[in-house]
Symmetry: C2
Subunit: 413 residues, 2 copies
């Protein structure tokens, strides 16, 4: 049996382009994990006639219809009334929900506007979904073997409600005997077309396997999606494909799924009991910031210096002014000394030095925008690489930190 | 005359939740600027029957239909054929486009796959839109007084094509005699409910004026949207409302529209010829990173230190170990000395010191997660404030930098 879902997002702010609709992506992603395909996303304004006819049409076309938005307390919030009208059901006042809403305001010591009691109305036959963050409850309502669900439009309210209540309900109501599982492989240091070339045959796999390549400015993601009867067989297929990709892209793979590079590096440093210090010029603190985004980074991160001026490179890092004059601040020599001297200054195991030209100013004839030197220093090792990154100022900064993290990862292997 | 538009985005990757559809927001935002309302966003899979019927239905309902996605060179890319079928038109090979595609590959020194010639097909009566970034041209095709447009799905290809070609075309074809203009006011240091309370009456304005309040974790945005017959009268209304809001929210307003706080601060420092040095602990380099995101920051940013350990606070900034022991690293005393000593070390006009607890570890009974001290030091001025921020580690870091920038802005006034 093929079960399909539709996602309807309601709100004038979406139609005006004031906000991006990220709920549809989230809902479809979660549904696809339990084997349910989404056949349509629909965004519509706060117009009762449009809402009612859209609900009816989607219910006629699909087994599952998920609404988001329009559950707030104001007169613009029409979703509950429209659901009741679309399904010819009465709205019934729910005492339990009313109590929860009152408690929500009491706890925050705010006087409850009378309007908020509108949120305690539930269409006949509906099952409310508790909202632990805001005041608007969600709704599950069975309709002739199909199901309609409604969630608040605020993403961080919708996310936990969908995961905790709606997904288990749908899994039970529509046992599909199949699941969809995905794995994302994160790649750095290669262009999209180069990755494409290296794993072209794997990317062409079809059938129960769906391959995708998603270029982001700072990394390439390859996604393996498998439809199988259970987790175990899905995992087997995914790890087989993953192995093939790994054998070709090797060191360029830095992580999987939602892993962040700085967290991978953090775990690596903790495991090997090594410490790190950083001297940044063109990245301006971005590398230190990423490193300290990882919880527990104080265990291995000793010191970060943003020596943006030549003067500070000289005074804080003891880099001779002659070196800077002779080779330039953007040079192998300067970056290498930055890495070495910050390591010695902080008494750390590793030192990283970054110096480059991010633009729009600062370039010379021989040193174009995007030229970046990254140096890594350890007691028994010293590496410095020259890179040529493309893109905006922010992108060049980000790509530089990716490359630095990758050098650190490879050195620690 | 009311003109309405629909946006149809095509792609299995959208239906699977692999990517968020940000094109619909972009298109609607741009259309609303020229007075055209979007009545529907529709996301559909790469299924020719669904694409054809969706095109026909949307053209029946609205004057303008804008497609994105499915213009690539592969067999999955069906948009051109579907447009031709939906409108009963032939596809005609366009020599000029074929030449441009060939040139694109020649320039990048890549052999052109034969498939790419499919992108040179144009439905009869269609006007191709040049794509300066990728190989897929866009399309404008008039249909009985209405218009259908198609764009590649890659956002950074769609954006310039829509702005340069499609918007001028639509403005000319549908002269509405009215425009929609918006202004975003960016607010920091107040909660959404507090802003709501302070400008409640203004937020309730209706008619030709539409007010919105958009809470982001790091800032509150209030948006004024006005529908008027021309720019001048729209500007007059907007600046009147803006003045009212400014008189109430005062210093909490830090910027407008797409302005970034770090760029506002940068312009401010350049104008007043002042320089800045920063010593960060809990923000781990984020403030230095934001400051150096602004082009030209080397003119006023002298030095950033990420003194993550007590040792580095002592050794680099000369903060007595007794001070740290007595008051703690997270204290008014330590933050104030960080600000003062980094200012002296860098010979700058301003020094900023930040020390706090971002979690998940590090809290004590008296020092909860989110407690942050921010100090500002100038020759004749020294301020230190205690903050209690809520949210994740990253959010606490970000909110701390917002507060620091705001302190700097107020001190420089």
């Amino acid at each position: 049996m093929e079960i399909s879902a539709q996602v309807i997002c309601i709100g004038n702010e979406i139609m005006l382009g004031h906000i991006a609709n990220t709920n549809a992506q989230f809902v479809s992603g979660k549904l696809s994990c339990i084997g349910i395909k989404t056949s349509k996303h629909l965004d519509i304004p706060d117009d009762p006639n449009v809402i009612i006819s859209s609900i009816r049409k989607s219910l006629a076309e699909s087994e599952i219809v998920i609404l988001s938005g329009g559950l707030g307390p104001t007169v613009d919030d029409l979703t509950l009334e429209c659901i009741a009208k679309a399904l010819n059901k009465k709205l019934i006042f729910n005492k339990k929900i009313a109590g929860q809403i009152k408690a929500h305001f009491k706890m925050r010591k705010i006087k409850m506007p009378a309007n908020n009691m509108r949120q305690a109305l539930v269409p006949e036959g509906g099952i409310p979904i508790e909202n632990n963050i805001g005041t608007a409850p969600g709704l599950i309502i069975p309709v002739n073997g199909k199901v309609l669900m409604a969630f608040p439009g605020v993403p961080f309210e919708l996310y936990p409600m969908l995961e905790k209540t709606a997904l288990p309900y749908l899994k039970k109501k529509f046992p599909l005997g199949q699941i969809i599982k995905s794995r994302v492989i994160k790649i750095t240091g290669l262009s999209e077309s180069r990755v494409d070339e290296m794993i072209e045959d794997i990317l062409r796999l079809t059938g129960k396997i769906q391959m995708g390549i998603y270029p982001h400015p700072e990394e390439i993601q390859v996604k393996i999606t498998v439809t199988e009867k259970n987790e175990k067989s899905a995992d087997r297929i995914i790890s087989k494909i993953e192995k093939q990709i790994k054998s070709r892209l090797k060191d360029h793979i830095f992580g999987y799924d939602n892993e962040k590079f700085e967290e991978i590096i953090g775990r690596m440093l903790q495991k090997s009991k090594k410490t790190l210090a950083i001297a940044e010029s063109c990245t301006g603190g971005l590398l230190a910031n990423r490193i300290t985004d990882a919880p527990g980074s104080s265990a291995y991160f000793k010191l970060g210096l943003v020596t943006y001026s030549n003067e500070s490179k000289h005074r804080l890092l003891g880099i001779p002014m002659e070196t800077i004059k002779k080779y330039g601040a953007v040079s192998k020599e300067t970056a290498s000394l930055m890495a070495k001297n910050v390591r010695i200054l902080a008494c750390s195991d590793y030192g990283i030095g970054i110096s480059g030209i991010t633009g729009p100013g600062g370039r010379t004839k021989t040193k174009p925008i995007g030229m970046v030197y990254i140096a890594l220093s350890a007691k028994s090792k010293a590496i410095c690489k020259e890179f040529r990154f493309s893109g905006t100022r922010n992108l060049i900064k980000y790509k530089s930190t990716q490359a630095a993290l990758n050098m650190l990862k490879q050195a620690n292997n």
